[in-house]
Amino acid sequence: MNLNYTPDELAFRQEVRDFLATELPDDIRERVRLGRRLSPDDQLRWQNILSERGWLAPNWPVEHGGPGWGPVQRHIFEEECAAAHAPTIVPFGVNMVAPVIMRFGSEAQKQHYLPRILANQDWWCQGYSEPGAGSDLASLKTRAVREGDHYVVTGQKTWTTLGQHANMMFCLVRTDPDAKKQAGISFLLIDMTSPGITVRPIITLEGAHEVNEVFLDEVRVPVANRVGEEGQGWSCAKFLLTHERTGIAGLGHAKQALRHLKSLATRVQHRGRPLLELASFRQRVVKAELELMALEVTNLRVIAAARDGGVPGAESSLLKVRGSELRQELSDLTRRALGPAALPFFPDFLHGDAELDDPAQAESAAGAAQYFNRRKLSIYGGANEIQKSIVAKTILGM
């Protein structure tokens, strides 16, 4: 056993680092560093740079335009992006609907959608959760009734991340109300400009407009936009969930957050000494450091297993639980390190283009807001309690 990267992998890391140093625009890097929300234009500007370099879709096979990276390279890329304050790409097209289309889609769907995703021509969002279907996703009620060459879709989706910018949504709908729960579900691709769609913002507790409600009122969707067979939607959803979980530990982000925390707590003073020297605070940083070390090796174990042909299974649930807990802890420590400076709240700066005169205030503005935003990590993608139940069932056979 060894934990060392090969010379090729180290060279690859340097290549990524060089690319990020020269190609990531300074204004975008600075917005991400300060924890400010990116405009859709900035988001797309960065995704187009990645696309031109051929690095937008690290998970895709070469035949569809992916870079042909293995799990180790993808991990290195993710780490370097987080360290350089590169924006996280909007995952719904590249990482979520694309693999489903590749696996279950028709030839026509592949030829139409995949190149558009790779060229950032569509902004995708996810139509999964409903007001009455959260962790129990299969209880969803949005109905799709077949009328000739169309489905007529009526229902409500929620927690639709960045749906306000999206022109396409992949959506789970119930096509057979009489079938058993999972069996009556189909997977549709819906044009967000269709008549009958209303998107309403949900403002989260830190004042952000990140998620939305999407109302569908007799929306006509061509049958040609169904991926897979009618009633096969649950297989697509399950398949997608395994893709959603690659990189789920958020290790690159956790590493960056810990680096930032150490640097912050070295600069912030407590009674004339760096806060990091305050025993009670330092102890928690030490514990976070240990957890990160363990998580990194666990993550590498899963990556190496994937590289050697294994399928990331329930281990990714473990990574999700511990990774989200760690990132939440780091956001808590960062908020506390800021002290009184965590209190002032400037939503127009964080979520919009308003600037702050005081650079120190700009540096600390996002601390508390990010702490609240990070609460989502243990809720989305299957709440941590759901993950534990998955492990209990699939690994432990309980």
């Binding site: 934990l3 330092r282 450091e289 363990a294 666990t298 309690e385 209990a392 432990l396 309980m398």
Partner: protein
């Protein structure tokens, strides 16, 4: 990056697993603990035949050249079997120091028979007043003509009762840390033997003007070698704890599936499922730390010790967590001596008290928090 095992390593683990299943059942283990400490056990003889006594030592000193991973696999198996043999205390630690520090004569006299299974040794590094600090010791080595005279006391010397000689750390006149081979029958050496709460054989030693010839002295300044050997020992302990955690988790899971209450198996209760998953999470994270420890032994000393401290602290917490949950989830049965998991729980909790506990190692990480990484 490679987490796979070689064919030889796979064979080694298979062999060890079979050996534990056949030879270290609860009844056999009890018999081993009750046997006189001065008799070589049949299991140790088997270890010798399997090459396990040669495995962790370099080929230059007659070993098989096993690396950190090999040692990890062996210790994990011993942890699974809750084996009462002093593989670490009686072989690996003193042997590693002899390999690092001994000259040809000393190695021929003490190391070669150790590897052949002809005798065992012990390492006396710990003193109560120094707690877990291997360097802050009071036992003194005074130069007396051509000889050395040792004066002081050592506590919690594992395997001393079965050892042909004890390697004793002592502060020399010139301030350096010395290491001396003290034969079991040396005049002035007295021993008080006892068992630890987790069934280890231990002794307190008194050194009352123990006079030794020059060839008992293993090198002039042994501090660095001692640190390296203790790092090896910590990596071994982490692996042993992981093995014991595996079994504690397995036995607890089996119990939850089999035990019926309110007309249903305990494993059907979600609160118990989640506790069981939490045990599993701790086990897997501890396993990662044990791997990190085993693969960091050849790093530069500062980096090695940082990682080892992190691993030992992390595994200490994880082991205690798993032990406490194992007892709780077994209910009243977990409190009994009859229930085998309670023996694992004791070992897992007390694991923290060997070679530095959580606080000891957290302090090391804390002291080097920003500079190493």
């Amino acid at each position: 990056m490679d987490f796979s095992l070689t064919d030889e390593q796979r064979m080694l683990t298979d062999t060890l697993d079979r050996l534990m299943a056949d030879r270290v059942t609860p009844e056999q283990r009890r018999a081993m603990l009750e046997a006189p400490t001065n008799e070589r056990s049949a299991l140790w003889q088997t270890f010798a035949e399997l090459g396990l006594l040669h495995m962790p030592f370099a080929e230059e000193v007659g070993g098989l050249g096993g690396d950190g991973t090999d040692l990890m696999l062996i210790m994990q198996a011993l942890g699974r079997g809750l084996v009462p043999e002093a593989y670490l205390a009686g072989l690996v630690l003193p042997g590693d120091l002899l390999a690092r520090l001994g000259d040809a004569g000393q190695q021929a006299r003490w190391l070669a028979p150790l590897l052949e299974g002809e005798h065992q040794l012990a390492l006396a590094w710990q003193e109560n007043d120094a707690r877990y600090d291997a360097h802050g010791i009071a036992t003194a080595a005074r130069r007396d003509g051509e000889r050395w005279v040792l004066e002081g006391g050592k506590q919690l010397v594992l395997n001393a009762a079965s050892a042909a000689a004890v390697l004793v750390t002592a502060r020399r006149d010139d301030g350096g840390l010395g290491l001396f081979v003290v034969p079991a029958d040396a005049t002035g050496l007295s021993r008080r033997d006892y068992r630890t709460i987790d069934d280890q054989s231990a002794s307190d030693l008194t050194l009352d003007a123990v006079s030794l010839s020059d060839d008992a002295c293993l090198g002039r300044d042994v501090a660095q070698a001692l640190d390296a050997s203790l790092a090896l020992g910590r990596a071994a302990l982490c692996a042993e704890a992981v093995g014991a955690m595996e079994v504690a988790c397995e036995q607890t899971l089996d119990y939850l599936k089999e035990r019926q209450q309110f007309g249903t198996p305990l494993s059907a209760f979600q609160s118990l499922q989640h506790r069981m998953v939490d045990m599993h999470l701790h086990l897997e994270q501890a396993r990662s730390m044990a791997i990190l420890a085993a693969t960091s032994l050849d790093r530069p000393a500062a980096e090695r010790d940082y990682r080892l401290a992190a691993a030992k602290a992390y595994c200490g917490e994880a082991a205690r967590f798993v032990a406490e949950q194992a007892i709780q989830l077994h209910g009243g049965m977990g409190m009994t001596e009859e229930c085998y998991v309670s023996h694992y729980a004791k070992r897992l909790v007390m694991f923290d008290h060997y070679l530095g506990d959580v606080d000891h190692h957290l302090e090391h990480v804390s002291d080097h928090l920003v500079d190493v990484v």
